[in-house]
Subunit: 198 residues, 2 copies
């Protein structure tokens, strides 16, 4: 490898991509090497162009087209009294794909993680507070269940308390289709505690 | 998604990358969107530059620097009488990392696969035949065990027969560290058939 500096540089660039297993970095490098020069240039051009065509909506922090504006905030048929707070844009996508939720979103851009140096100022918490005016009736915290996620939810709930808005979180219990005997203790515990009248 | 054409284009480009799970395409898109414009441009520039700095060695088909030539063919301390035929460049890497093999390599660039439209002319078989002159004593077929790989090995063995060179293949048997009870039937069968004097 030391004798192939260009290949080393290529590998090092590809290693920066998240979610690409180290075993597969060489295969992706091979893929790029086997493309023609013009195909590689096309790939890079489209990558740059499409990234530059997008920006974060200054209100809800979701990705939006620079040319047309936010697809959630600028739509009058969505229910502005419901605000769903999600960690990231792909969590937003997951909720949107259910087709059930018709309220507004707010993308935090991550969760509190002191070990990674992510504090409240790195998230869009101030933007969220600004949105809580008279029109919002309920804030749904749809943040993943992890130590960091739970801490973020707690902080948000506390800081939204004074505004008098109803703060809810997603139901926790048995997922659809799971057999009782295979579900983990914590989930079963939650499902028992949060049992509801049939 | 239909309302974010730039994002759709970005996703579609990333979907062309092999070995990137579809669940992760959105995360990689997010990664690129979160980079600054200059970081994205650096990524593309290095990708293009390093790919353009490499070419296939016309003799052994391994990747080599355009500026300095092949790191295997141009080295006099390697044993030119041994020729190891591999499917791809990462198989070559795997063998090279053992540190044991000091002969020459020949990269086929794939295996015969009629369903994918890959025939003998798409592989570097003609180049391999040209290399079999008086100096090569043994050709080691280090091709993966698959229906396609076995067919390719068989074709190579047949077409090299007339040249009088010794054609061998890698030993097949129990891998190091595996317990007999967990090894599959085919491997155990091979290991029994190819047993050797202790």
């Amino acid at each position: 490898m030391e004798e192939l500096p260009s290949l080393q540089r290529l590998i090092r660039q590809l290693q920066r991509l998240p979610y690409l297993a180290s075993k597969n970095v060489y295969r992706v490098a091979q893929h790029f090497l086997e493309l023609s020069e013009s195909q590689r240039e096309d790939f890079c051009r489209i990558l740059l162009d499409s990234c530059n065509g997008l920006c974060r909506c200054p209100v809800c922090w979701a990705w939006s087209e620079k040319s047309s504006g936010c697809m959630f905030c600028n739509v009058s048929r969505r229910d502005a009294s419901l605000l769903c707070v999600v960690e990231s844009w792909h969590d937003l996508q997951a909720i949107e794909q259910t087709g059930v939720f018709k309220g507004m979103y707010h993308v935090l851009g991550g969760v509190l993680s002191p070990l990674d140096g992510i504090g409240p100022d790195d998230l869009s918490i101030e933007q969220l507070k600004k949105r809580i005016d008279g029109s919002v009736k309920e804030v749904i915290l749809a943040i993943n269940q992890s130590p960091e996620g739970d801490a973020t939810s707690a902080l948000l709930a506390r800081s939204l308390k004074s505004s008098g808005v109803v703060v809810t979180c997603l139901a926790r219990g048995l997922p659809v289709g799971i057999a009782l005997e295979y579900s983990d203790r914590l989930t079963l515990n939650k499902a028992l505690l949060d049992r509801r009248i049939f």
